[in-house]
């Protein structure tokens, strides 16, 4: 049961992202703020940290490919970035503590790096012309805050679910 729950949650998050994207952009005073939901990659980072790096990379490749084909039509962008982020997260956890707050900060940091890479990529191919400062204030900051809210609400649930799976895995093996 829990075995199928992990990919199922990933699919649900993948499908929920664009629904939450419909709320954005938000008008805040004079500024237009963009909130980019990054639920799936946060979940995959959690899988990578608490469960298995290899499996997280495979999920990342699969969902990254879907993301590329369905939403942005540039095949290879997310299908490269998602596994890379999962790989880095899984490798970095060897050097730091596995507490929930630490993983939350680490995953948000990785998402911020990913957003920055995406910004440079899209400005490289001239899809966007916004300057770096307005990217940081109107896109990156609101995105990180929104995803922090999401993680602080559901991070413990992810951890609980993944731990249940790890325990089951260990029981099956013994």
């Amino acid at each position: 049961m829990i075995r199928f729950l992990i990919p199922f949650v990933a699919v649900v998050l993948f499908l929920l992202e664009p629904e939450f994207a419909l709320f954005s952009p938000i008008q805040w005073g004079d500024d237009i703020l963009y909130l980019v939901p990054r639920f799936l990659i946060l979940y995959l980072i959690f899988i990578s940290i608490y469960y298995s790096r290899k499996r997280a990379c495979l999920y990342g490749l699969f969902f990254g490919l879907l993301y590329d084909v369905f939403y942005i039509d540039i095949i290879g962008l997310y299908s490269f970035l998602y596994p890379l982020v999962c790989f880095v997260a899984g490798s970095a956890i060897k050097f730091i503590h596995q507490h929930l707050s630490v993983t939350t900060i680490l995953s948000l940091f990785l998402v911020a790096i990913m957003e920055l890479v995406l910004y440079y990529f899209f400005s490289f191919i001239n899809l966007t012309t916004i300057p770096l400062t307005s990217f940081l204030s109107n896109r990156l900051l609101p995105t990180i805050i929104a995803n922090l809210l999401f993680l602080s609400m559901l991070g413990w649930a992810f951890k609980y679910l993944i731990n249940a799976r790890v325990i089951q895995h260990a029981r099956d093996a013994s």
Binding site: V11, L15, L16, E17, P18, E19, F20, A21, L22, F23, S24, P25, I26, Q27, I32, Y34, V36, P37, L66, D68, V69, F70, Y71, I72, D73, I74, I75, G76, L77, S79, F80, S91, L118, F122, I125, N126, L127, T128, T129, I130, S134
Partner: protein, 306 residues
Amino acid sequence: MPQFFSNKKLILLLVGIIFLVALISFSLRDRQNANLPEQFIKDTVGFAQSIVAKPANYITGIFNDINSLLNTYEENKRLKMRLEDFAVLQAEVNTLQSENESLKELVKKESSLKDFNPLKATVIARNPDQWEEKIILNRGSSHGVKLNMAVMTAKGLIGKISLVTPFTSEVELLQTNNPNFRVSAIVHGKKKDIFGLLEGYDTERNELILKRIDSSLDVNEGEQVVTSGLGGIFPKGILIGEVTEVTTDDFGLTKMAYIKPAADFSMLEDVIIAKRNINEVDGSDGNGTNADLTNDVDESTGEGEE
């Protein structure tokens, strides 16, 4: 310090990067048609997405309802004030409409650039990373959607169809940075209509830019901008927005106006795809070819189905 990559992994990574760069450059080159596996993935994900979109739209609908309930009193006051004008306007519209019809009969003019078949569609997703302004609809080529059709909401024009698969289609919104996305537009001036080309979007002002306006003509703030139908794709008379500022353009030869779009680009739910009744010319707007498209209508309009 353990070794971060073993040799085998390093080679795998490098090969992977080369492969992906090749894929990226391949998919950047041709962005008009989706190939077969792409179409399959798009339709499958689109199907799942439309299932999720229904309850999501329902919930956002409830929020909107609550929001409008809170504003009822203010709105009611304002609407009552406008109601009196409305009756007069309605009578005027009726007489104008009947007059227009009889005049049309008189000159035997059957089709106009204004006529279009509306096709209702629901937004099932918005590109979550929001770098390209793009939404995905639940209607595709099997419902009669073709490339380059105009897409609008009840308030005004929002964009055009940029990619079609059998059951979904993608809309490129007006806010795009794509330099090939131009819309031929008219400013309803006081004395006469003024032509211009809508191209580009000012991200700082969040307004559209209308370029190539004849500098001898007067464009004023607050005037309405509609599609002209002369670009060969869009029907005539779809509201785009209203003029907020007029300046001269970079070279000082023509005028340029900033336009506040009439449609609200966030929270898009139900949209209308407009199919022009009069035969359309699929100009170089689409794929950047400079071939003679006016004399070969049949072949060029068929390309959306591929």
